[in-house]
């Protein structure tokens, strides 16, 4: 049977699947980006030592929290959508 793209799109379950896969790819790529950001901040904090109140450690903490938020969004997308 030939593949009919219109019929595929009109099927509600297929739309859900399409959205889910697209979303997982997007969030996955974004998780990689945030991980890179956290790694860069970590390496910068090893090159340059800033005072504790100037935010170097704080930014590293924010980057790690942000990475875990994106990671949890990835998991939520797998489970819910």
């Amino acid at each position: 049977m030939p593949f009919d793209p219109l019929a595929f799109i009109q099927n509600f379950n297929n739309i859900r699947l399409f959205i889910k896969v697209a979303f997982l790819i997007l969030v996955g790529l974004y998780a990689i980006f945030t991980f890179m950001l956290a790694t860069k901040i970590r390496s910068f904090n090893k090159i340059l030592f800033l005072p504790a109140n100037s935010g170097g450690a704080f930014l590293q903490l924010v980057a790690i929290i942000y990475f875990f938020i994106v990671l949890s969004l990835f998991i939520v997308t797998i489970v819910i959508v």
């Binding site: 739309i15 974004y30 090159i47 340059l48 030592f49 935010g55 704080f58 930014l59």
Partner: protein, 212 residues
């Protein structure tokens, strides 16, 4: 009769102040805060390969005003979704067929991306640092996430220093690019959009002069 020619008495206490080399200046340390862009003799800042006797003279970041474009974009992006219904309703486009859970996650993802945009831009600004020590000038550049550059030039290798202020905003807010020409290679090290560029050039000129 009035004396026309007299020997001036030499006052031992009144001496012409000698220009002091940069390394010998009496310094009061200044604190570096979260949003500092220009700190002379910063307290608590150090480099990984810094010698014990190497004193940091200047800590600079891009001027904070350079952050205004992305802050403005962020505000637009935050309020944009609230105007979407007004755009789609006249066009008779409905998203009723999309499940609510999908819409919710889409909205969360959208705002997570905005948070990431803010964070990446802030980090780019935060780690775009220039440091001048008694022995060298260090320029740390952080463009996006994919490009990082750490350039160092020894003070004795610096040949020339100049600054550029281009356009109305740079003149109005007093920031600009400071370029250092390295003698051996002829390459330039640039502190981009640094606040008070004239003062930075002064400090660097004194540093170069001290090593001549």
């Amino acid at each position: 009769m009035p004396d026309i020619f007299t020997d001036e008495a030499i006052n031992p206490t009144a001496q012409t102040p000698k220009p002091q080399p940069v390394t010998k200046q009496a310094t009061a340390h200044h604190k570096v805060s979260f949003l500092s862009t220009f700190v002379r003799d910063p307290d608590g800042v150090s480099l990984a390969e810094q010698r014990d006797d190497e004193h940091i003279l200047l800590f600079i970041r891009r001027d904070f005003i350079t952050n205004v474009p992305w802050i403005f974009s962020t505000i637009i992006l935050i309020i944009l979704p609230f105007f979407l219904p007004f755009v789609f309703q006249p066009l008779n486009i409905s998203f009723a067929f999309v499940p609510l859970t999908v819409l919710t996650i889409l909205a969360i993802f959208y705002y997570v991306i905005i948070a990431g945009f803010v964070f990446a831009n802030f980090v780019t600004w935060f780690y775009d640092i220039g440091i001048v020590t008694e022995a060298r000038a260090v320029d740390i550049d952080f463009y996006n996430i994919s490009y990082v550059s750490v350039a160092t030039a020894r003070a004795q290798d610096l040949k020339d220093v100049r600054y550029f202020q281009r356009g109305f905003f740079q003149s109005f807010f007093d920031y600009g690019d400071v370029s250092l020409v390295v003698e051996a290679s002829g390459e330039t090290l640039t502190f981009e959009q640094t606040p008070r560029p004239a003062e930075v050039v002064n400090i660097l000129s004194a540093l170069i002069g001290g090593h001549d």
